[in-house]
């Protein structure tokens, strides 16, 4: 029974690992921290898995646990080292597919998102993942109206970062 649970969990996580990787990409700046956070999220997912009823989609449930772990996890390095080498691997944009200005714009956008606070990042992440405000508000534990208000503020913040 336990073996079966383990197998089911690992298989589901293996199939949905992109969600966790994307959270790690947003919340960390280097490969080691990325792996640390991935591991911590995996532990939290596994701990919560017996309570996962299956009435929600596994991926929806994952978003919540992954973001919660990223938001509450204790990180030693207070200074955010701007290591672009890892980002540029992850956020690699194929030059021949886009024109130069669009590439530059995207790069600036990603950098701006990385400068946001933990909660703002969570909001942007869910937005980028095409989640509606109902799901965003439920995940964060705020009302839908407040989620919209907050999203507008985040957009303003991004605008300020992009056009100082």
């Amino acid at each position: 029974m336990n073996k079966e649970l383990e197998h089911r969990f690992v298989t589901e996580l293996e199939n949905n690992q992109n969600i966790v990787h994307k959270v790690c990409t947003l919340y960390t700046n280097d490969r080691d921290s990325h792996n640390d956070l991935f591991q911590e999220i995996t532990i939290q997912l596994w701990k919560a898995y017996p309570k996962f009823r299956g009435d929600a989609k596994f991926s929806t449930w994952m978003y919540r646990v992954a973001l919660n772990t990223a938001i509450t996890l204790y990180r030693k390095s207070k200074k955010r080292v701007q290591t672009q080498d890892y980002d540029s691997v992850i956020f690699k944009i194929k030059t021949d597919e886009y024109d130069d200005t669009e590439e530059k714009q995207l790069k600036l956008m990603y950098d701006a998102v990385k400068q946001l606070g933990d909660i703002d990042k969570a909001l942007v992440f869910l937005y980028l993942e095409d989640k509606d405000y109902a799901e965003i508000s439920e995940t964060l534990g705020i009302t839908e109206v407040n989620a919209r208000v907050k999203m507008n503020r985040v957009k303003n913040k991004l605008r300020t970062i992009l056009n100082p």
């Binding site: 293996e14 991935f38 701990k47 646990v65 919660n68 534990g141």
Partner: protein
């Protein structure tokens, strides 16, 4: 801005192929690793807290100290204090355990942060309670030593001889208050620092969500 975010969204969703890929075995190994989350840290610190303060009580309850207390006629007061102390400690451990169990990473972010902060609050209250008990014990002990202790009698007698009894008592009270206050501030600073480092970010994030409601 709207367009730029939409652009980002499109790019973001096309990016999956660049993400790392872990194998089944790599993930399987991870589920048995130890968590390093802040919740774990708070749990361990709290355990140390409970053991430390309970330990202090036990250390000061040896038969010799008991005899001394009896000789100083503060035995009964101290016993009542001890009794209350243990009762309250048990209550705190129960409350801590109950709150700790409530922590769930499947709750909404706000609720999760609230429960973590509640656990921390219980521990802080526990520490404050112990500090108050500690201060009361100190004051009763000083009183006991001065009134009933052999050296205390001498000290008072010599103070009387010099004829400045009021000044003497004033000094005793001032010194005990200052001493207790300094001790309390030091311990308070220690906790402020400890939880400050651990929970600063969490608190900021919690307030970030909380301030929307105003």
């Amino acid at each position: 801005m709207m367009d730029e975010l939409e652009l980002l969204k499109k790019d973001w969703q096309n990016k999956e192929e660049h993400l790392p890929k872990l194998s089944y075995d790599q993930i399987y190994k991870m589920i048995w690793k130890k968590s390093s989350s802040i919740v774990k840290w708070i749990f361990y610190i709290s355990l140390i807290e409970f053991v430390f303060w309970a330990g202090i009580n036990i250390v000061f309850s040896d038969p010799e100290s008991m005899q001394e207390l009896k000789a100083m006629h503060i035995y009964n007061v101290m016993m009542v204090l001890n009794f209350v102390n243990y009762g309250v400690i048990l209550y705190f451990i129960y409350k801590f355990y109950k709150n700790y169990r409530k922590i769930s990473f499947t709750d909404s972010s706000k609720k999760l942060m609230r429960t973590i902060l509640d656990v921390k609050k219980t521990v802080t209250q526990y520490v404050w309670f112990n500090l108050i008990i500690f201060a009361i014990t100190m004051i009763i002990s000083i009183y006991g030593v001065l009134i009933f202790g052999p050296q205390g009698k001498e000290i008072i007698a010599s103070a009387m001889q010099d004829g400045n009894e009021a000044t003497f008592w004033f000094l005793v009270i001032t010194v005990s208050i200052v001493f207790t206050a300094v001790l309390l501030v030091l311990i308070w600073l220690f906790y402020k620092l400890l939880y400050g480092i651990l929970l600063k970010r969490l608190k900021e994030n919690y307030n970030d969500l909380k301030k929307l409601e105003v």
